[in-house]
Symmetry: C2
Subunit: 178 residues, 2 copies
């Protein structure tokens, strides 16, 4: 199999972030229908020492752009964590998707084999290939924040299901040929 780190990283992140934006829409609709301030959802969390929905969305975005950028040895754009509403969180997602879509397959040439190093406390480093970095660091962190955002919404009663989280597969659906 020959595939590219670009195809794995960018498609995963863009799909996941698009689904996340849709999940936020469902949250906003729920707040509207029930007549409560949607900022209550934005500030909701699953445990008092866990991050809020807003922070989960910010971190999903930061993990996506940070992973892609680090894999190709670039700096990712900095986005200030100032979002307080669902509309603002959706805009943050849009900015992140635009950045990801601007990265070209050629930017990722050689990235799978190139070493990625990260400093850790205690004079330690984390050292892995670009492929391992995406598989074992970037993807699990990204999914952690997307799914926890889903779980916060779902825990609060928002009417979402797997179909909303998996919306990105719609493009693969076709009529069965008789």
């Amino acid at each position: 199999m020959t595939t590219s780190l670009h195809a794995l990283a960018i498609e995963t992140f863009v799909s996941g972030l698009s689904d996340l934006s849709h999940l936020l829409d469902k949250g906003a609709e729920f707040a509207e229908r029930k007549g409560f301030d949607s900022e209550n959802l934005v500030n909701s969390r699953l445990a008092p020492d866990m991050y809020s929905l807003a922070r989960q969305v910010q971190l999903a975005c930061d993990n996506a752009k940070g992973t892609a950028a680090r894999a190709i040895g670039k700096e990712s754009p900095q986005h200030a964590d100032t979002e307080k509403t669902i509309v603002e969180l959706k805009a943050r997602i849009e900015k992140t998707i635009a950045y990801l879509k601007g990265l070209k397959p050629s930017d990722f040439e050689g990235a799978a084999e190139r070493k990625v190093r990260m400093d850790l406390p205690g004079d330690l480093i984390l050292e892995m290939s670009g492929f391992e970095y995406l598989r074992d660091w970037g993807l699990p962190h990204f999914y952690f924040h997307v799914v926890t955002a889903y779980d916060i919404l779902r825990h609060n009663g928002v009417d979402i299901g797997k179909r909303d989280y998996m919306g990105h597969v719609g493009g693969y659906i076709r009529p069965r040929k008789k």
Copy 2:
């Protein structure tokens, strides 16, 4: 970049399931320390119409083995959903890891390009390449259940953090060379 579907699928699933088994250990320790029956955790859920921790673990296992098997055109072993305790759930994970580890890189030859088709209701099918199937179906489903299991434990006060979910990166840590 040349990488294999085997390297992407099997490593991801084995790492994630190993971390999940560790998270269950932390749940059992918490129950022991607080003096409650750990089955309360096993039956816990984030919403009354969401799956319990037990079911999340079963589904993480089923997604891992089912995705790997379908990608190579095999049937995966069936495991009955009878687990009622953390010990039993950890055994389910062990069985799944053993199956995954038994699959060889050569089993995945050509799997990335081969078409995968799934029947959907309403005379529809989902059709994608093996690589797309892993990236857009297998991995998001797998992470959904692993992270939701984490979130159920965390929501119940179990003392876990990202380090427990990311334990698989331990092998990449080394001292900084002076």
